[in-house]
């Protein structure tokens, strides 16, 4: 399974979505396989049970599917290498329907009924926010992969962690130096008129200011809008960069109409891949994006200089060079976010092993061991790149990618530094009682 560099090479094995979900049955089967790493170090070979709060249905289902694929691949890789502390890992999936109230029920169910060791995997912010109190009440560590600033804001509780994906505040802030230096000094923001857009509205201007650039206009678009031409005259003529973060089904229409408005003479365009996750950038209507730039968490397209770890990760999850499912080229992944599932599971492994975790009675020790983590080196466990972790705010900080749309692909032209995205901690979870 490991190549000469010591990286997991799963490209030659067939990983189906079910493989890692077989749980106990699969764990037992693997343990008997000849030549397989035996779970010998463990006092108990009972599996570590990870409750996967999954957006299987509801508005988040497209993301949920890829989160599930990535998590299943990570669990397989972890199990193939001996599991956590010598014990196999089992994912127990419960669907939260992308529904905050249901999310809270699911967390309680994991704690009380399935008795999982932790809860993991939530993406949508409102589900995280709705579920976090249940994690706190049940004193069960809750590892989310949401990118929201809610964990780092320290307004949740001590049991909630986001160690596998940088939060949106840090992402936005780290875009500023590059935008100011390379795209332009006069920036107009176009964003949907609700919380998601407000993150960009609030965090970008001060970050740009610090690098000598200015937001000269902010255009908030009502979320139910499906035609945008009437808003474009509000873009000041001197605009050098349009910073756009539209989301929802009307994104294609937005880009198309922006193209019709500007023709070939346009300012620089800078967007966030959140707008086009799981969507082919070569779709009709998106032609206008050619030559524009995007934030990407982890690159969708394979890059010429991809590390061996990145290659192994892509092969393990089953995404091709265009970031779509191997064997199903129209099924475009959510590459900018789903790597966080992989990395979070490796953080859980590290923290459990550091804590000498044996079972639910050690959950408090697991919280403290996670808080004690400082940094994660780039490699098979963290293929997206190196990260630091702030145990006080339970949030990791990693590098971000800026990619240019070129020839129908996204080519990474800049990688930010971790320092670009650091900000002052807004609180300290470690002062809360366990």
């Amino acid at each position: 399974m490991a190549d000469k560099n010591g990286f997991f090479d799963l490209s030659k094995t067939t990983l189906t979505r079910r493989t890692a979900l077989k749980g106990i049955a699969a764990g037992a089967g693997l343990a008997l396989a000849p030549g397989f790493v035996r779970y010998s170090q463990a006092q108990s070979s009972a599996p570590i049970k990870i409750g996967f709060q999954s957006h299987r249905t509801g508005i988040g289902a497209a993301y949920g599917r890829w989160y599930e694929k990535t998590s299943a691949a990570a669990v397989k890789a972890i199990n193939d290498a001996g599991g956590i502390g010598g014990r196999p890992v089992e994912l127990v999936i419960e669907d939260d329907g992308t529904d905050p109230a249901r999310g809270a029920e699911v967390v309680a169910k994991f704690a009380k009924q399935h008795k999982t060791d932790i809860v993991f995997g939530t993406l949508f912010s409102h589900v995280v926010i709705g579920s976090a109190p249940a994690a706190g009440e049940n004193k069960i560590p809750y590892f989310v992969v949401s990118e929201g600033h809610h964990v780092a804001s320290t307004k949740l509780n001590r049991y909630v962690f986001q160690p596998g994906i940088t939060d949106v505040k840090s992402q936005i802030q780290s875009m500023a130096p590059w935008i100011a230096a390379n795209a332009g000094k006069k920036v107009t923001q176009i964003f949907p008129d609700f919380a998601f857009g407000y993150d960009h509205r609030d965090y970008l201007p001060p970050a740009l200011k610090a690098h000598g650039a200015d937001v000269i206009a902010q255009i908030a678009i009502p979320p139910t809008e499906s035609s945008f031409t009437k808003y474009f005259p509000q873009i000041p003529a001197e605009t050098e960069v349009i910073y756009h973060v539209m989301v929802g089904p009307a994104v294609l229409t937005f880009v198309k109409e922006l193209g019709e408005f500007y023709g070939s003479q346009r300012p620089q365009l800078f967007g966030f891949m959140d707008s086009l996750e799981a969507t082919d950038i070569n779709s009709p209507g998106l032609e206008f994006l050619d030559g524009s730039h995007f934030w990407e968490g982890s690159p969708r397209y394979a890059q010429a200089n991809d590390s061996a770890a990145q290659k192994a990760y892509r092969a393990a999850v089953g995404i091709d060079d265009n970031g779509a499912a191997v064997g199903d080229p129209k099924d475009v992944s959510t590459a900018s976010h789903m790597f966080g599932c992989w990395e979070t599971l490796y953080v859980v492994k590290k923290a459990m092993e550091d804590a000498g975790y044996k079972g639910p009675e050690d959950r408090a020790k697991l919280v403290e061991a996670t808080e004690a983590l400082k940094e994660f080196a780039e490699g098979p466990e963290h293929p997206q790149g190196a990260k630091t972790f702030n145990g006080k705010i339970h949030q990791c900080f990693g590098i971000q990618n800026i990619s240019k749309v070129e020839g129908g692909k996204l080519k990474v032209v800049h990688k930010t530094k971790i320092e670009d995205g650091l900000y002052e901690a807004e609180g300290d979870y470690t002062t809360q009682a366990l």
Binding site: A195, F196, P284, D328
Partner: protein
């Protein structure tokens, strides 16, 4: 959760709702449809329905009637295997309920939700519409009922009758409960929850069948049988006295007896609930209640609005339908009672209901149908591979991207338009049964045709307008 705790959670959730959030409402496949010239399709669809009405008005009714009456006999077969098939179906159902209780918690890995919602509700309805009444053989009650009747020596020849004043109201109420569970309940896909609901429903229906006879309860109480047998009337297959024959699609609807008011209401509810499923996800509907579709709050938060909408769409459709029938009667100087006219003309709703069903569930069928194939091979998540499909790759890409969106849109629009054209055709034939004078028959159809044109526009708009998710 204790009430006190719930209060604390609610309070903290309210505070936290003010936190900045990330949103992932993605540029879904509806985004590609938004770029298609759907307006032309809507106009074209409305025109097609209107033109078919005009053409029919000009054709001599006898020509049409002769056309509809044509049958092509195929072969004869008996009812003997029916008990066995139903018993096998019951065994399968029992296994599925067990899988729901003890198998994977993941609704896309557990076969129960996939079979109930995808294969049975979305898929089997389509089969009934195409192949005829397979359900009367495949339902999981007939076989067990026959066995139980034999064991308990029940008098199956003369069971106590379900009071006739009840009409189809038991089926109506149960269908409403089913639609509510499917569309409004927070977690109808949850395997255990669904196992309880489906198991309980089987038991209640079985008990009712023991009490009122299989035919008595399944014709007016068991909503699936009522729904499926109505849909099967559209199919181009007919079986009379054991002999199977071919007929024109929809021809059997023309021979339908007038439904009582409760039966009329049932058919209209079947159409309105599928319509509401589409409507409830549109930006338009969510916007009416100040809900941001890009920050869709989840099903729990929408229980009140959803329940209201489910009732509202039924009431609106029933009112508009009744109005169209009354106006038609006035225009034609009709002497039939309103109930009789409505009960007969409502059969023309079947092709529309079927078309909505196909158009609405097409993508679900294409993707979740694949998950169902995988799950069925390993119903208890024990690593089995019963049918060799356990490791089959699920290709979600079949419905993704601009090209798929174009194909899907064209199929959906084609089905919606064809369904309405057929509905006009059926309504015309039914009207001729009420009015022997062709000009009166045509005149009586004018308001109903307007309703069908409006519903064509509505159906296409539902598929073209921005939606959440």
């Amino acid at each position: 959760m204790k009430d006190h705790d719930a209060g604390v959670v609610l309070a903290s959730a309210t505070t936290l709702a003010l936190l900045p959030t990330s949103a992932f409402a993605h540029a879904s496949d509806r985004g590609h449809v938004l770029l298609l010239p759907t307006g032309y399709y809507i106009a074209g669809g409305a025109l097609a329905v209107a033109v078919s009405f005009l053409v029919l008005a000009l054709l001599p009714p006898a020509v049409l009637d002769n056309f509809w009456r044509r049958r092509l006999p195929l072969f004869t077969f008996g009812d003997a295997p029916r008990i066995l098939i139903s018993l096998i179906s019951f065994a399968g159902f029992a296994l599925l309920v067990a899988a729901g209780l003890f198998g994977s918690r993941d609704p896309l890995s557990n076969p129960l939700p996939l079979v109930v919602w995808t294969l049975l509700w979305a898929g089997f309805t389509l089969l009934q519409g195409v192949l005829g009444d397979l359900w009367s053989w495949l339902n999981p009650w007939y076989g067990p009922w026959r066995v139980a009747s034999r064991v308990f020596a029940l008098d199956t020849a003369k069971p106590p009758r379900l009071p006739s004043w009840l009409g189809y109201w038991p089926a109506f109420a149960l269908f409403f409960a089913f639609a509510w569970f499917e569309l409004i309940d927070p977690a109808p896909d949850d395997p255990a929850r669904l196992a309880f609901a489906a198991g309980l429903y089987w038991l209640v229906s079985f008990t009712a069948m023991l009490a009122f006879g299989y035919d008595g309860w399944s014709r007016r109480g068991e909503f699936l049988t009522v729904f499926f047998s109505m849909v099967a009337r559209f199919a181009p297959f007919e079986r009379v006295d054991g002999r199977l024959g071919l007929c024109w699609p929809g021809a059997k609807l023309l021979a339908g007896e007038p439904l009582p008011q409760s039966g009329t209401a049932f058919l209209l509810l079947a159409l309105s609930s599928v319509s509401f499923d589409g409507l409830s996800k549109t930006f338009f509907w969510l916007g009416l209640f100040g809900i941001n579709p890009l920050e869709y709050p989840g099903r729990t938060a929408l229980i009140g609005i959803g329940s209201f909408g489910l009732v509202l769409t039924f009431v609106l459709l029933a009112a508009v339908f009744a109005l169209a029938v009354i106006l038609g009667q006035r225009l034609a100087g009709d002497k039939h009672s309103f109930g009789e006219a409505a009960g007969l003309l409502v059969w023309s709703i079947v092709p529309i209901a079927l078309a909505y069903h196909i158009a609405h569930y097409l993508t679900v069928l294409l993707v979740d149908g694949q998950y169902a194939l995988v799950a069925l091979s390993d119903p208890f998540a024990l690593g089995w591979d019963l049918f060799g499909t356990a490791n089959r790759m699920v290709e979600a890409g079949v419905v993704a991207g601009a090209q798929s969106a174009w194909w899907l849109w064209n199929i959906q629009a084609g089905v919606i338009i064809a369904g309405h054209v057929l509905a006009v055709l059926v309504a015309h034939g039914l009207a001729w049964r009420l009015h022997k004078q062709p000009s009166r028959a045509a005149l009586s159809q004018l308001p109903l045709t307007l309703l069908m044109i409006a519903y064509t526009i509505f159906g296409l708009w539902l598929l073209a307008t921005p939606t959440a998710g």
